[in-house]
Amino acid sequence: MSEKHTISCLVENHFGVLARVSGLISARGFNIDSLTVSTTEDPTVSRMTIVVDADAQKLEQVKRQLGRLIDVIEVQELKEGEFIDRELLLARVRVNGNVLPELLKLATRFGAKLSDASDNSVVIEAAGDTKVLDALVEQLRPYGITKLVRTGRVALEK
């Protein structure tokens, strides 16, 4: 059965490593939900958090194929409940009439912030795990989301 899995990789902080990882994933036909890269406490090492949509056999292949890359130092699957994950969301939402107070209340409930407010729109900035942000997006939809961006998941084991 296909489901979402979070893989955390430590990789060499060289040029071209992202191309190796993303190239491998596309060449092997794996479905990727999100991929984030950033530096770590060690400046020579980057962490990639990859969310893939795969069944158990395919997931095992993704991990093993990633492990074959020379620039990949460590591959770890983060299992449900054993990690903290967050992503950042920015959404520009229409402000029609007097909905601003409502939006503010909604944002507060989700621990989100309102920024860059103009006459007819506002940017909502939220951080949280994927499910929370999915819920926020659903609640914002009726107001009219004109632009939406999410960073993709970053995760650390507990």
């Binding site: 191309a19 190239g23 292949q61 492990g67 074959r68 020379i70 620039d71």
Partner: protein, 580 residues
């Protein structure tokens, strides 16, 4: 020391004696540094030839093959050769020139993103931007290419880096934190014990051995394992030679054009022991039908090979040689006398078969080459029908004697690979069994062979077709020969133009004398143009997508057309003469 000299010094330290390549603008400093060095530099006609020669050299010797090309078109011409090596896990280091570092990305003359182009077909690659990194990179490149599951590594060297000076410091150790070929057998003992238990209680076991046995030099251990347990052995195309076909336990090749009895034996097995093989689709046919009654043991150095296409029960991750040594200590032979009788009966009942035709048959020619060379030649091949007939009718008895492109299926591989093999094994008799289609793709490398007076022998199975394509068109495209007919070529004249001996053979009685004459030529290549039957098909065959026990061109179907059985794993006195 200049970068180019550092490179040559590194090659010397790695024990490299011969490299293959072509100079050009971006690798002139490298060739200049090689000029006058003890390393033999073989100029090829085309860079693809250089890559295949390095590959053939590596397959024949087990050492790392090295090829060189300039930037841009030189590098892109290597691509087919690198991909061929990658698919078959061949240790290769390809060194390409690159435009000056400050020009990279500017669409400079003869610039190509070589690293980008070769990323999916290399085990690893390096763009060296600083000469100070060069010794480390070269050390790592050879280490990565030759350890674990071997493969090609590419080093892209901008011309200014090869001209820059730095002190030569050769790193004694390699330390790559993302690449630790698994410590031998660590943590695998319980799995090996489980395997030994499964072997002891099996009733119908079969060993399925692949190229991993050859790559890890484990042929002796495989032979010991099979003889100790009396389990019959089939090999993949790339595994041919890993187990001697003269051994009574040999089942020859399995798979799409494998032996009928071999595929039946695998289908009926209750235990399949895969050793250094990867359940390739040409072996399995429809994957979920493959040996589906069998418990499967899979020994492989590459964890990603496990459960990739066929799910296995007992994976053992490790070097094949080390695992087999351990298994040989533990394994007890199962009670399988009955099974061996079944197999023997199938060997007698379902032999290979062909029917005499007015024109010469390629199978017969290959049988004769096998007999004259007593199975002791190194045989390179192109890709297609002739390759499968070589696999079926040549009797392979030694590892590294079959040099063929399995995974990528690269036509044109045979001649340059034979040349590379002859450079690696100067004393060996090297044959290229080729097709007229395949041969023409790299025929120009006859010039390289002639220049170095290599006594290689090229046997062209000339059917004036892309024969395997023609066979599929007959089977699946209503005989519409869309562009499969090859223009007739006078290969004798072609051979002579290159300074080789050319012989044309049309009659059966001339086959043996031509082969014997080729064996006496010692100072140049010999090309024998065997004019063979155009419509001959390669049987048996698992049609694409079909289970591996459902074959076309079985003995039963062909004997009705007057086919004559050709026994390969049955002693003459045991052959069932009532069938012929």
């Amino acid at each position: 020391m200049k970068g180019a000299q550092i490179l040559v010094e590194c090659l010397k330290r790695e024990g490299i004696q011969v490299v293959f390549g072509i100079p050009g603008g971006a690798n002139l400093p490298t060739f200049d540094a090689l000029y006058g060095s003890p390393i033999q530099v073989i100029l090829t006609v085309h860079e693809q030839g250089a890559a295949h020669m390095a590959d053939g050299y590596a397959r024949a010797t087990g050492k790392v093959g090295v090829c060189l090309a300039t930037s841009g078109p030189g590098a892109t011409n290597l691509v087919t050769g690198i991909a061929t090596a990658s698919m078959d896990s061949i240790p290769l280091v390809a060194i390409t020139g690159q435009v000056r570092t400050f020009m990279i990305g500017n669409d400079a003359f003869q610039e190509a993103d070589t690293i980008g182009i070769t990323r999916p077909i290399t085990k690893h690659s390096y763009l060296v931007k600083d000469v100070k990194d060069l010794t480390r990179v070269m050390r790592e490149a050879f280490y990565i290419a030759s350890t674990g599951r071997p493969g090609p590594v590419l080093v892209d060297l901008p011309v200014d880096v090869t001209l820059s000076e730095t002190e030569f410091v050769y790193p004694e150790d390699v330390n790559i934190r993302g690449y630790k070929p698994r410590p031998i057998l660590e943590g695998q003992e319980p799995q090996i014990k489980r395997a030994a238990e499964a072997i002891a209680k099996s009733k119908r076991p079969v060993i399925y051995a692949g190229a991993g046995v050859i790559r890890s030099e484990a042929s002796a251990e495989l032979i010991e394992f099979a003889r100790k347990t009396q389990i019959p052995v089939t090999t993949t195309l790339l595994g041919l030679g890993a187990f001697p076909e003269s051994d009574p336990l040999s089942l020859g090749m399995l798979g799409m054009h494998g032996f009928e009895y071999t595929n039946y034996a695998v289908a009926q097995s209750d235990l399949l022991i895969a050793i250094g093989a990867r359940f390739d689709d040409r072996v399995t046919g429809k994957a979920d039908e493959f040996a589906k009654r069998a418990t499967k043991i899979h020994i492989d150095v590459d964890p990603s090979s496990i459960n990739k296409t066929v799910m296995v029960d007992i994976p053992i991750i490790g070097d094949v040689k080390q695992v087999l040594r351990k298994l040989n200590q533990l394994a007890q032979g199962p009670q399988i006398a009955e099974w061996l009788n079944v197999i023997q009966e199938m060997r007698r009942k379902y032999p290979l078969v062909y029917r005499e035709k007015t024109k010469l048959l390629p199978q017969y020619v290959i049988q004769q080459i096998s007999e004259v060379t007593e199975g002791n030649a190194i045989v390179a091949t192109g890709v297609g029908q002739h390759q499968m007939w070589a696999a079926q009718f040549y009797r392979f008895n030694r590892p590294r004697s079959m040099i063929t492109s399995g995974g990528l299926g690269t036509m044109g591989f045979g001649l340059p690979a034979a040349i590379g093999a002859q450079f690696g094994c100067p004393e060996a008799v090297v044959w290229d069994i080729d097709g007229d289609g395949s041969f023409q793709m790299t025929a120009q490398e006859l010039a390289t062979a002639a220049q170095h007076k290599l006594p290689i022998k090229v046997a062209i199975m000339n059917n004036q077709f892309h024969g395997m394509v023609r066979q599929w068109q007959d089977l699946f495209y209503q005989g519409r020969y869309a562009q499969s007919k090859v223009n007739p070529i006078n290969f004798v004249k072609l051979a002579e133009a290159f300074g080789c001996v050319g012989i044309r053979v049309e009659k059966k009685t001339d086959v043996r004398p031509a082969i014997e004459r080729a064996m006496t030529v010692s100072d140049r290549p010999t090309v024998i143009d065997f004019i063979v039957e155009e419509s001959e098909d390669c049987w048996p065959m698992i049609a694409p997508g079909k289970p591996h026990f459902e074959m076309l061109g079985t003995f039963e179907s062909l004997k009705q057309e007057g086919g004559i059985p050709q026994y390969r794993h049955v002693k003459p006195e045991e052959a069932d003469l009532s069938l012929s």
